[in-house]
């Protein structure tokens, strides 16, 4: 696949360890555009859009944030959620200004024990760039898995 200079630069930034330890691509050898395309297909097959998924992630983070890192369960059906913030910020690797609190949200399905974890930057990258990170990256999110955890109760999913 012939890359445009912009795509080449993006790949360089995503693979570099300048912004996060290990980079955003992990051990994934595919080009980021390929990763994005294949993840969007997986998301669509799960009956989901990036807008709806990122909105749900954002809602859960906002619910959990006031509890300062403690689990909230009971009011969320089969899910429990916690959100913990750390000093510092995360920077979006795309070429636009964008810094996000270093806040990590974890959601656990109480029956299956499945867990999914994201940062505020993940929410932004999914919403704006359709990027779930490369396989092997620390905060890689599997599209089908997160949909099955966050939307299990919804009809049509």
């Amino acid at each position: 696949m012939k890359q445009s200079p912009r795509d080449k630069k993006l790949e360089e930034v995503l693979r570099s360890t300048h912004l996060v330890a290990g980079g955003f691509m992990g051990s994934d050898s595919r080009h980021p555009i390929e990763v994005i395309e294949q993840d969007i297909i997986a998301l669509e097959e799960a009956g989901m859009t990036t807008a709806r998924l990122s909105q749900r992630m954002k809602e859960l983070t906002e619910i959990a944030t006031p509890r300062l890192g403690n689990w909230i369960d009971g009011a969320l059906g089969k899910l429990r959620v916690k959100s913990e913030d750390f000093k510092g910020a995360l920077v979006c690797p795309w070429p636009h200004p964008g810094t996000f609190d270093k806040r990590i949200t974890t959601v656990e399905h109480l029956e299956t024990g499945q867990q999914v974890t994201w940062t505020d930057l993940n929410i932004h990258m999914i919403a704006e760039h359709g990027f779930f990170e490369g396989k092997g990256a620390f905060f890689r999110i599997e599209p089908a898995e997160i949909v099955s955890i966050l939307f299990e109760d919804e009809a049509g999913i």
């Binding site: 445009s4 200079p5 912009r6 630069k9 570099s16 360890t17 300048h18 912004l19 996060v20 330890a21 290990g22 944030t65 006031p66 509890r67 300062l68 890192g69 403690n70 689990w71 913990e84 913030d85 750390f86 000093k87 510092g88 910020a89 995360l90 920077v91 200004p97 810094t99 609190d101 270093k102 806040r103 990590i104 620390f138 905060f139």
Partner: protein, 366 residues
């Protein structure tokens, strides 16, 4: 429609190519030549242009505090660029107020020295030193928190005020392709001038904390610089409320040591919050401070004690414990250290209980 898309594509492509040419020229062709940095109308540095101001100053052993190591994400490395700094970049604007922009305040990590430049920095920054040290002790405080002791080698001693912080240089390693600096509060007694203790909490996938936890070993050399920061005990007699969580413990250990050294009789209640019992630490040291200080009380608070545990202390959020303890904080001073969320929540509680905003002290980044 197709014409429109073709036009957009052509314009985008031209833009991308021009941007690439600029980047390549900047990297490989442009030579900014010698530039002069004038500091405080007094000191002059003759350097080779092309590097960020923060780096230029650091290379000259002038250390502007920065919590993110120059990534433009903390907004700490501000200085006044009187002339030669160029236009304010979009990466700086989120961290600058309108007044600061009007006063020519810039983020030194984002200002590239391309020509002669005239800057103003606080005189006290000239006192900040770089220290070669050796990590002599690593102590597990909790499952995700460790205390690192660094013995100073060159220079062999430091003078700091309890509450200040240091920057630690994290070298290149497998997970990080470049050196980065990170800021950590000092947790040692200011009278122990030959060493620095830092309490560091592991940040998932954090560049520097991963290095500290996975790679740094006792006996390894470590570069530090500092001390920085205005977070410190005031010189009043007002009763104090400390609130901390996690590695926010660090500056309070130092401040309590200082109070012990000076036989302070000031009233302090220290609320330390953990999510579970596993998050609590340094109970014995806090007990010793309670014995040594006349008016000090340590109040650990656990949000969700493990089932079956025999925890007899306070249960709930640390902010709730403060609310339950006080009805009026208008005569108190508040000191906060911990995660940004905890600091925001605790500051809101202080203000709600009548504490004046200018009596609430914290370093969010330390």
């Amino acid at each position: 429609m197709i014409d429109f898309l073709i036009t957009v594509s052509i314009i985008s492509s031209i833009g991308a190519v021009l941007a690439l040419i600029l980047v390549l020229c900047e990297r490989y062709v442009v030579n900014y030549g010698p530039c002069r940095v004038t500091i405080n109308d007094d000191r002059e540095l003759d350097i080779q242009g092309g590097s960020p101001l923060l780096t230029v100053l650091r290379d000259e052993k002038i250390f502007i505090p920065s919590a993110c190591g120059g990534r433009g994400t903390c907004g700490v490395c501000k200085c006044t660029v009187k002339t030669g700094g160029g236009a304010v970049l979009p990466t700086e604007t989120p961290f600058l107020t309108k007044e600061e922009i009007a006063d020519s305040v810039r983020l030194s990590c984002q200002v590239k020295v391309r020509n002669d430049i005239d800057i103003q920095i606080p005189e006290e920054l000239f006192n900040i030193q770089e220290f070669k040290s050796t990590c002599t002790e690593i102590e597990e405080l909790t499952y995700d928190m460790r205390r690192f002791r660094f013995e100073l080698v060159d220079p062999p001693a430091i003078k700091f005020v309890a509450g200040q912080f240091m920057q630690l240089l994290c070298p290149k390693y497998k997970g990080s392709g470049e050196e980065v600096y990170r800021a950590y509060s000092i947790a040692s007694d200011p009278t122990q001038r030959n060493l620095i203790d830092l309490i560091i909490r592991l940040v998932p996938n954090g560049i520097c904390t991963t290095w500290c936890f996975d790679i740094l070993k006792e006996g390894d050399p470590v570069m530090l610089n500092g001390p920085y920061g205005d977070f410190r005990m005031s010189e009043t007699d007002a009763p104090m409320v400390f609130v901390a969580g996690g590695s926010g413990m660090a500056p309070f250990v130092s401040i309590l040591s200082e109070m012990r050294n000076t036989a302070s009789k000031r009233s302090v209640k220290y609320f330390f919050g953990g999510n579970t019992l596993k998050d609590l630490c340094m109970a014995n040291e806090m007990k010793a401070f309670e014995e040594q200080l006349e008016n000090f009380e340590f109040i650990p608070v656990v949000a969700s004690p493990e089932e079956g545990s025999e925890w007899a202390g306070q249960v709930g959020l640390v902010t709730e414990a403060v609310q339950q303890t006080y009805s009026d904080l208008s005569k108190h001073e508040g000191y906060l250290c911990g995660s940004p969320g905890m600091i925001d929540a605790a500051a809101a509680v202080f203000i709600g209980l009548g504490m004046p905003e200018d009596k609430i002290y914290y370093d969010k980044f330390s």
